[in-house]
């Protein structure tokens, strides 16, 4: 036995703190896990959506391809329309997300008459090169996101949005 014996008072203090802490954790844990669930949920994703755009009609010039898909937002499922900027580079198909990396507005190809070969965001005049690279001195801090893209029997199919892989 050591010299610092635990007094009855200390023992009760430790025990009550321990039990109290356990009860508090038992109360808080379910609630915290409940609140952070969206952070930990696995997203299925990865399904390709077939668009009306013929691959043969594509050129080096980005065109806007609209598409619709079923979006599941927790208990609410709805038909959502979205778009992508699609072009060919050699034989490679490229689809860029129109969502500005500054604050999420929608960018247009050649939207600014002074820069007809760039993407332009009307909200704060953010600009991007054709491969999505953000132009220094304009608000966006990163390049436009990229869609996974496939040629399905001559039609463009778009997949999940991922970080831009074209900008080095």
């Amino acid at each position: 036995m050591s010299n610092n014996r635990v007094s009855r008072r200390q023992f009760l203090g430790y025990t009550l703190t321990g039990v109290g802490g356990f009860m508090a954790a038992g109360m808080l844990m379910p609630m915290v896990r409940f609140a952070v669930d969206p952070l930990l949920q696995e997203k299925a994703g990865g399904d390709f959506i077939l668009t009306d755009q013929k691959v043969a009609d594509l050129s080096e010039e980005p065109v806007r391809v609209d598409f619709a898909f079923e979006q599941v937002d927790a208990w609410y499922t709805s038909e959502v329309t979205s778009s992508a900027w699609v072009y060919k580079e050699g034989d490679k198909l490229i689809a860029l997300s129109p969502v500005c990396k500054h604050l999420g507005c929608t960018v247009n190809w050649g939207g600014d008459p002074e820069h007809p070969t760039q993407f332009f965001c009307p909200c704060h005049a953010g600009r991007y090169e054709k491969n999505g690279k953000n132009i220094a001195g304009t608000p966006p801090l990163g390049p436009l996101d990229e869609f996974a893209i496939e040629d399905r029997d001559g039609l463009v199919a778009l997949g999940a949005v991922k970080a831009n892989t074209l900008v080095k």
Binding site: P38, L39, K43, D73, A74, Y76, L103, G104
Partner: protein, 224 residues
Amino acid sequence: MLNKLYDWVDERLDITPIWRDIADHEVPEHVNPAHHFSAFVYCFGGLTFFITVIQILSGMFLTMYYVPDIENAWQSVYYLQNEVAFGEIVRGMHHWGSSLVVVMIFLHTLRVFFTGSYKKPRELNWIVGVLLFGVILGLSFTGYLLPWDMKALFATKVGIEIAASVPVIGGAIKVLLAGDSTILGAQTLTRFFAIHVFFLPAALLGLLGAHFIMIRRQGISGPL
């Protein structure tokens, strides 16, 4: 009659000292607009509290009609504003009051700053005040989405992107606020509603309590 009732309760619970502690305290001459009109600048804190009380009351009544659901939120706001008696008034109180709270809290902060009232021994109360300012801005931000119209939706889109630009944890903040990594929708509305109506008001009341206890213990700062 009322006096008798008071005496009856006081005889049993001795409430007079409590009442005295809360309400009976000296207002120094230099903060009393009746003595020096320019002392009205000392009223902004009280005005902030007064409008906050209006916000809490009008908000409580708004939830009698409002539903935080993306199909019905806008309709319920439209209904309570246009079909319910005095709906325009009650919603108007909450709408205009929200801006007024921010204005008043800002003026109050300026007064505290320019009279140097944040200095020792009142540093902690300044810190609590800054936290209160943050809570009020959070309430404004979360309340803005609830009518679920175009302005609300896109303002929140931009607001969430601003939150997402925080280094390292920005992405997590975005998902925790929106309830989804890409969609701003059904879960965002319910989350914002919960934060607006339960979480932030709870924080607000706790901080306000601390704010008031501290000012009562330390007294109002002296004249310049």
